[in-house]
């Protein structure tokens, strides 16, 4: 990487200077990708005021703190994160990263699970890092790419079925306001199927910035259930970019569970590039305190006879804020597209806020596209009915909030994950101001 590219006042410049000497042995393509990515980051920097994509999402949680890339692995960070998660044995992680570094002691030798550090040495004939997310994928994705080093590489060949969920755990935090780059590359071969869970977590109140990128390749006829759980620290800033490319007749069932972060932003993009692909992208975001939870989804129908289903539900208490933006592009030759998008939000407090916006661009003329957004409060009639049966007001509220959220969890096809999240839910639901009265 050439020296003249470094600008001293660019954020994370000093971190890059310290980081680069360790990457000298990397393959040329990766080094070039890194250079392009750093250039892009230098050019873009943080989103500026007025940027349409960040209109309702101030990033002061990132810019007002000097975050620094850690250089050592602290196993305590792993313990703090797993304590909050309380994962059952069925969801034991196959691979664990602490602030982006592999924690060897917690990594089991699972089939098809590799570390990107090894995978990147020779990905000949296989998807390459950066194929879907590179220097041109926005500032934070470029920043992530400039610092890419390790991460989870799960690459399934043709015609295999992995019945048990593969769990990737990213535990973040510790002292010194860590700046953490996390990267996953997932690829499901032709007619193969798998369930992959990505979990991002940290200690309850630690301050750090985690910047995550996941690239997902679904080949012809591949089937993937992808569950992404964000239980980052309540003081953390989390930026996530997930891009999925779907080939002919592939099926994606994606579930995005957003619980943590003072600021959490996740952009998920699905590109349906061949006919017959079908994607479900669902999500739930639960905010309390002063959390700001932003979900951006983009579904790019680039081929005919594809379908997409999208259901996001938000529950916001206290002064929490939510942002939902759902883009659906239907390109000129994507005839017979069937796309449906829904965002439903429950506001539990008069000070909670949501900005929700569907954004449809339809160029083909023979398509079915629907979208809808609802924002509401708990039903007074339903609360009264529960109370009239002896159920106290706090419990009655909890039952109704859980029923609202449970609808999204019930759609997760992997039973072990669904059961885990259903158990976790009551402990993370936002409270109403009336609670405790």
């Amino acid at each position: 990487m050439s020296k003249e590219l470094h600008t001293a006042d660019c954020p994370f410049h000093a971190d890059l200077e310290a980081f680069l000497p360790d990457q000298l042995g990397e393959p040329g393509w990766l080094s070039q990708l890194r250079t392009r990515a750093w250039n892009a980051w230098q050019a873009s920097g943080y989103p500026v005021k007025g940027d349409e994509e960040w209109l309702f999402t101030p990033i002061s949680a990132i810019t007002e703190t000097t975050f620094t890339r850690p250089t050592t692995v602290d196993a305590e960070v792993f313990h703090a994160g797993t304590k909050r998660l309380a994962l059952p044995a069925a969801l034991k992680p196959s691979v664990v990263f602490v602030n982006g570094f592999a924690l060897e002691s917690e990594t089991s030798a699972a089939q098809f699970v590799q570390r990107l550090k090894d995978y990147n040495l020779n990905p000949t004939g296989l998807p390459r890092l950066g194929d879907l997310v590179s220097e041109s994928s926005g500032g934070f994705a470029a920043l992530n790419t400039a610092f890419v080093e390790d991460g989870a590489g799960i690459v399934l060949p043709e015609g295999v079925t992995v019945a048990e969920p593969i769990v990737i755990l990213y535990a973040n935090g510790g002292t010194g306001a860590p700046f953490v780059n996390l990267r996953s590359l997932l690829s499901v071969g032709r007619n193969s199927s798998a369930t992959i869970i990505e979990i991002y977590t940290g200690g309850a109140n630690e301050k750090y910035f985690s910047n995550a990128v996941t690239e997902v390749h679904l080949n012809e006829g591949a089937q993937l259930t992808h569950v992404r759980i964000n239980l980052e620290s309540n003081q953390a800033a989390h930026i996530g970019n997930t891009v999925i490319q779907m080939k002919r007749d592939s099926v994606l069932s994606s579930h995005n569970i957003v619980l943590g972060g003072k600021l959490s932003r996740h952009d998920v993009t699905a590109r349906l590039v061949d006919s017959g692909a079908s994607c479900t992208i669902n999500g739930i975001y639960l905010g309390h305190g002063d959390q700001l939870l932003d979900n951006h989804t983009a579904i790019d129908h680039a081929a005919p006879h594809c379908e997409s289903h999208e259901l996001y539900k938000g529950i916001l208490g206290d002064t929490a804020r939510g942002v939902f933006n759902g883009k659906i592009f239907v390109r000129l030759d994507a005839q017979k597209t069937d796309a449906k998008q829904t965002n439903q939000v429950l506001l539990l407090s008069p000070d909670a806020r949501i900005n929700t916006k569907p954004q449809l661009e339809i160029l083909a003329d023979d398509v079915k596209c629907t979208h809808g957004a609802t924002v509401g409060q708990l039903s007074r009639e339903a609360l009264f009915y529960l109370r009239s049966r002896g159920i106290g007001v706090n419990e009655a509220r909890a039952i109704l909030v859980q029923a609202f959220a449970g609808d999204v969890l019930a759609r997760i096809p992997a039973p072990a994950v669904r059961a885990y999240l259903e158990d976790l839910l009551p402990s993370v639901l936002p409270h109403s101001p009336q609670d405790g009265k």
């Binding site: 039903s379 009639e381 339903a382 009264f384 009915y385 529960l386 109370r387 009239s388 049966r389 002896g390 159920i391 106290g392 007001v393 419990e395 009655a396 039952i399 109704l400 859980q402 029923a403 609202f404 449970g406 609808d407």
Partner: protein, 256 residues
């Protein structure tokens, strides 16, 4: 001490006075019917007793086993042994019927100093009640009232009543919107829960439900007051002749 003692109860919705001094005493084991035309105040009476906050009580008092009922929250009323079978049971999407019933029963048990029932004992109790009421077990797996027919909703109310085992049950127009088979099913269900100790108040427009639940007393509510009390005979007379003779009689009495 009577089970329920309503004394001079007055209540308004907004500026409109609806109940203008209702007096009614119900003792343990008695079944009372409160009849009346639309707008007579029947539903207001039921709603005020259940604790719905859309109404303002402007006078009188209601004692439930000697305690001031109007001071109690809806959940406290339920835990004290009052049950309201609603005219329009609310649908609760995403809330499983069994879960709902268990939460309700254990809230009532806790109030009475009893341990919560565990899953096994609860299911045993629930199956027993379903059997008595001749209701299929698939009800337990469904979401509360979601997609239920009118008859199913009313039977679910009676089923909840059977599980919660209240000291006093008020059935608010439980017969409305039911066909003859559903009416028979609901009526026979209530009759099975008539055990000589429980008080039951049947609020209705028509006499037909009283063919299945024979009341000990029948009261007629008119313009916010109980204007006549009697037995089943009174209900049959109202069914045969309508309410107009009684309205004339009340007007004549008022004119004196």
């Amino acid at each position: 001490m009577s089970l329920l003692d309503i004394r001079g109860l007055k209540a308004s919705a907004g500026a409109k006075e609806i109940l203008k001094g209702v007096n009614l005493t119900i003792n343990a084991g008695e079944v009372h019917a409160v009849m009346g035309l639309n707008g007579s105040g029947k539903s207001t009476l039921a709603n005020v007793l259940s604790g719905k906050d859309d109404y303002e009580v402007t006078g009188g008092e209601v004692l439930f086993e000697g305690k001031d009922l109007l001071e109690m929250s809806p959940e406290e009323r339920s835990r004290a042994g009052l049950f309201m079978a609603f005219q329009y049971p609310v649908e609760l999407p995403g809330v499983n019927n069994t879960y709902f019933l268990k939460a309700a029963l254990n809230a009532v048990r806790k109030e009475n100093g009893q341990e919560p029932l565990d899953a096994m004992d609860f299911m045993k109790l629930v199956r027993e009640k379903l059997k008595i009421l001749e209701i299929g077990e698939d009800l337990l797996k469904r979401e509360v009232n979601v997609g239920f027919s009118g008859g199913e909703k009313k039977r679910n109310e009676i089923f909840q009543m059977a599980v919660l085992d209240p000291r006093l049950a008020i059935l608010d127009e439980t017969d409305s919107g039911l066909d003859i088979d559903a009416l028979r099913a609901v009526g026979s269900g209530v009759t099975k829960l008539r055990d000589g100790k429980r008080g039951i108040v049947v609020i209705t427009h028509y006499q037909r439900l009283l063919n299945y639940i024979e009341p000990d007393y029948v009261h007629v509510l008119m313009d916010g007051r109980i204007v006549m009390s009697g037995t089943q005979e009174l209900a049959l007379k109202l069914e045969a002749e309508g309410y107009s003779w009684l309205e004339q009689q009340v007007r004549a009495a008022a004119a004196v």
